[in-house]
Amino acid sequence: MTIAILAMQGAFLEHGQMLDRLGVEHFEIRKKEDLDRSFDGLILPGGESTVMRKLLIELDIYDILKEKIEDGLPVFGTCAGLILLADQVEDGVQCFGTMNILAKRNAYGRQLGSFYTEDEMKGLGKIPMTFIRAPYIADVYGNAETLAVVDGKVVAARQENQLATAFHPELNDDTSVHEYFVQMIKESKTQ
């Protein structure tokens, strides 16, 4: 199994380190030619969604990845990655728009609103959650399903091949969310 990590900007190295701990092969996507390699899953990391969206389009990566996601490629977006997947973005612009969620950008305010907590995620129990200038999911509809709620706000969701968290599992020691994503990839292969 090989997972591609979008490396336009942001905390992509940290996702690679999590996958190293799980013994999963991975590589970075920085330009169109990187898409020539085959991969079984895709991670969209944290960072600035405006920067990633712009570079995705200008480096000619956008169309290919959107098609792959629509064709069922397992994808996992954290923070900015969640915004890239969202069908609707409050105070922002839609990117892939493949997931039936409404994302609210900078939903907790500026850096002073960033926080750490531990809370339940469906199927995983209590896990560490780090929110950095994070979005939350203001609405989940269609076939998307809520996986975690913190303070009454949806912070994780899944829709078939797509997983999105408003928090950063790659910043803590706990690998359970990445394991969950690896499991999603395994299941997609047996289908």
Binding site: E14, G46, G47, V51, F115, T117
Partner: protein, 309 residues
Amino acid sequence: MIGLKENSQKTDRKGTGIMKENRYELNKQLAQMLKGGVIMDVTTPEQAKIAEEAGACAVMALERIPADIRAAGGVSRMSDPKMIRGIQEAVSIPVMAKCRIGHFVEAQILEAIEIDYIDESEVLSPADDIYHINKKEFKVPFVCGARDLGEALRRIAEGASMIRTKGEPGTGDVVQAVRHMRAMNAEIRRIQNLRADELFEAAKQLQVPVDLVEYVHENGKLPVVNFAAGGVATPADAALMMQLGAEGVFVGSGIFKSGNPAKRAASIVKAVTNYTDAKLIAELSTDLGEAMVGINEQEIELLMAERGK
């Protein structure tokens, strides 16, 4: 992890019960999100929008860009909060602002207007020629300039959660940023190769706490994110700093002192993402219009990098 846990505090967040929250960790983590990105100096909301549209991962709000500060001379201070607020309202990306070295009241003001990052910066006139700000007293994060490993670790010991090279701001001359990045990385490699019992002496020589030296010894890098700054003017300059080990780039005067700021800014952003792709950088360097004229380091009368050690 390292001896910086004094910063951790118990916070009762909106009635969800007492939980441990470490502001310093959260502040270092914001810097992690900026990695691989370009932070641009802007002086107006319009420039901030141009920067955001060009792909800046954050903007630095300041009244005058370093080249103009250099030209104008005189005492240079924190910007008017009204101007900073205007920029905060104009963009959705993080907004940083500068305070003078040692001027903790300017820092308090910036925290009060909820700035995302404070740059305790040698670009402004220092307010204190001995002491830097005790950055551990603040909830908002700080980035500080450094010319070598000792300066970087001293700033981190004071609570900085991000480091940048000082370079020589407002010159368009990258030579000092290169010198500072090379110096820092050479010292990191030296520390890595020391025996464990030699680290105490190394800490003494660097004038820094030994636990920070131990961290560098074990991890081969600073305990915080390290950007390049000072004199970056072209996509090639930015890629050079990335290949030398920077985790991202600050561009100050280089953009809005050039012929076509929007195009140059967008090109620098792409060069930072694909910093080893010479073919792409060749394309990005084509038809950019006039670069900032710049001054060579030998022609400068005021060395800003000498401020705050």
